[in-house]
């Protein structure tokens, strides 16, 4: 089941293999997953078999992902994962890769799945242009939403991890999520962050915390150094 390799276009598949060049927009792995996405939900009837469902993003924003997971309840493991994605090449590839990571080696413990970070997906994809990071972010968000859905359905309320946004700039109601978003859109300095969000323009008391969050998200997504995607 997890080994399936669905080929969208036979011609293309042949070309992907035959053309082992680096002249594409993305890495070879991204390309491979884009043209031959794994584990996507093909048949709506399959849905009934699943234990958790998550849906994040929107077509208006340019990316939307739905994810269905099946749980081995005894071992607290995700043993199957299907998805659907509306989005660009890297969005499709990163969801495909995420699904592979979850169900390879007989499935992933839920607690481990909850720890998957966007850069783990990017690492497996070999590389993603920095400006495409937000695509992979959506994948792990969709997964967490599906896991939370499972927790809710099985009344394991204490395990639900809510992604509530916390207001940082009280004057302009700017949240930590807004800061995260700005970092993903390319803000690397506080000045750039302020330009994008206007944070701290009125409520100057929030600036130290905003700077700290900027540093936190920079490290989360781009590593400890200078914000470059390694």
């Amino acid at each position: 089941m997890s080994e399936e390799l669905y080929v969208l276009h036979k011609d293309v598949r042949v070309k992907v293999d035959a053309k082992k060049t680096n002249d594409w927009f993305y890495s070879d792995t991204v390309k491979e997953h884009f043209f031959s996405p794994r584990n996507f939900l093909r048949d709506k009837h399959e849905i009934d078999d699943f234990d958790g469902y998550g849906d994040v993003g929107s077509a208006a924003c340019g990316d939307r992902m739905s994810m269905w997971i099946k749980i081995d309840k005894k071992n607290d493991k995700i043993i199957d994962c299907k998805w659907q994605t509306f989005g660009c090449g890297s969005a499709i590839s990163s969801t495909s890769m995420l699904s592979v990571m979850i169900i390879e080696n007989g499935g992933m413990k839920i607690d481990d799945a909850l720890k998957i970070k966007p850069q783990d997906i990017v690492k497996r994809l070999e590389e993603l242009p920095a400006r495409k990071y937000h695509c992979s972010v959506l994948g792990d968000k969709a997964l967490r939403a599906a896991i939370n859905d499972y927790f809710r359905k099985t009344k394991q309320y204490n395990r639900i991890v809510e992604e509530g946004a916390k207001v940082i700039d009280t004057a302009l109601k700017i949240t930590d999520k807004d800061i995260e978003e700005a970092v993903l859109e390319g803000a690397t300095t506080f000045e750039e962050l302020q330009k994008k969000t206007k944070i701290g323009v009125k409520d100057k008391s929030c600036i130290p915390e905003a700077k700290q969050l900027l540093k936190f998200y920079m490290e989360k997504y781009f590593g400890k150094e200078d914000g470059k995607n390694g």
Partner: protein, 396 residues
């Protein structure tokens, strides 16, 4: 299999005839038109000759043609150059929402840095401005109107003559960005009645890095760069002699063949539009059904994202472009698709085909053969299932 290039509105190849016309000015007759020696004299004569020929095509005088480095530069010169001369008279500029970024950003710059105020006119669902709205937005302090001749993304052709009449009636200077129009439409400046017109080489089979601004005699304008006083003091810098020669040759060729080529491409365009609409359900044609460039097809394919479709087509050797946010530097979807009132969902799924000299029927057939399959594949993995009427209801 050969690549099928359908991105001519981004840029064209250089016509071999054009390339040939340029060759001697790289190595043999390489002089600087400003030099007082025989090399300089040849170069000066060469530029003068090209200027004369272009003036002839535009029905203008040679000293009304100012060569620049690009369409963007011509637009900057036109807008900033006029606005800065007339700033005492008034600080209001009128343009419209689907202009090229070169116009929009120049206007925004003048608003932000030099105290001007710009009105960005709305367009209707086809991308046309409302002439009454244009007229009623003219104020006492309006000094410049800049409206494009034909749109680069959706191909909509504005009623430039009527716009010129309105501008004239109110004594306001009119600039038009005619970069996309030059290959297909009438660019006789007396006939269309504009004061300033931008053209560039890279859309008409001439090299990149060459543009021109037609400046009607008596138009108040001053340079935005300063130096050696070339181009009647409006655009300093050593003249790009080979490109000027190529530009003149290219303009002659496209204008000579424009009716025939418009007819030929118009047929292929219609074939492509019809084919897409027939074979791919849930598709919206963006732009005007008839008042559109003969080489432009722009469609929004619902429930998929443009970049993903572009990648599939690219793998088949079919090169197009998209209005999706994913391929823009700003990560914002096309301002043109949003301006014609479509919601973001439809902007993300918009793709553009622009046809040109090498496009033939086989190319269009090939696109129509492979594209429906790619759309199906992407829709199969998409969780979004919107209908055309939902999108159109959401449209303004």
């Amino acid at each position: 299999m050969n690549d099928i290039y359908l991105d001519y509105a981004a840029t064209t190849y250089i016509d071999p005839v054009v390339k040939k016309s340029m060759e001697r000015y790289f190595t043999k007759d390489f002089g600087n038109p400003g030099s007082f020696n025989s090399y300089g004299l040849i170069a000066k004569k060469t530029v003068d000759d090209a200027r004369e020929r272009i003036a002839g095509i535009l029905n203008a005088d040679a000293n009304e043609i100012v060569f620049t480095g690009s369409g963007t530069e011509s637009i900057n010169l036109a807008i900033k150059g006029v606005a800065r001369v007339l700033r005492e008279k008034g600080k209001h500029i009128i343009t419209q929402k689907t202009e090229h970024h070169a116009v929009l950003e120049t206007c925004r710059y003048l608003e932000k840095e030099e105290g001007f105020e710009a009105t960005y006119l709305d367009v209707d669902k086809y991308g046309m401005i409302d002439l009454n709205e244009l007229e009623s937005s003219i104020r006492k302090d309006t000094v410049l109107i800049s409206i494009m001749y034909a749109n680069n993304e959706i191909g909509t052709i504005q009623l430039i003559k009527e716009i010129a009449n309105i501008a004239k009636k109110h004594g306001v200077i009119l600039h038009t960005d005619a970069c996309q129009a030059a290959g297909f439409l009438d660019i006789d400046v007396k006939n269309i009645g504009v004061d300033l017109m931008t053209l560039n080489g890279s859309k008409i089979y001439a090299p990149k890095g060459i543009g021109l601004l037609y400046v009607k005699k008596g138009t108040p304008i001053k340079a935005i760069m300063h130096g050696g006083g070339q181009e009647f003091g409006l655009r300093p810098g050593t003249e790009n002699v080979p490109s000027i020669v190529g530009f003149a040759r290219a303009l002659e060729l496209v204008q000579k063949n424009k009716d025939k080529e418009s007819k030929r491409l118009g047929k292929l365009r219609n074939m492509l539009i019809r084919g897409i609409m027939e074979k791919i359900p849930k598709t919206i044609l963006n732009g005007h059904p008839t008042m559109r460039l003969p080489n432009n097809v722009n469609v929004s394919i619902l429930n998929i994202e443009g970049e993903a479709l572009l990648l599939h087509l690219n793998e088949e050797g079919i090169c197009i472009s998209t209005g999706s946010a994913c391929t823009s530097n700003s990560l914002e979807p096309s301002h043109v698709i949003l301006a014609i009132g479509l919601p973001y969902e439809a902007a993300h799924g918009s793709i553009r085909f622009t046809l040109g000299k090498k496009t033939n029927k086989k190319d269009i057939e090939r696109v129509l053969e492979v594209m429906p399959g790619f759309v199906d594949s992407l829709r199969m993995i998409s969780p979004v299932h919107l209908e055309v009427n939902e999108i159109l209801n959401e449209a303004k």
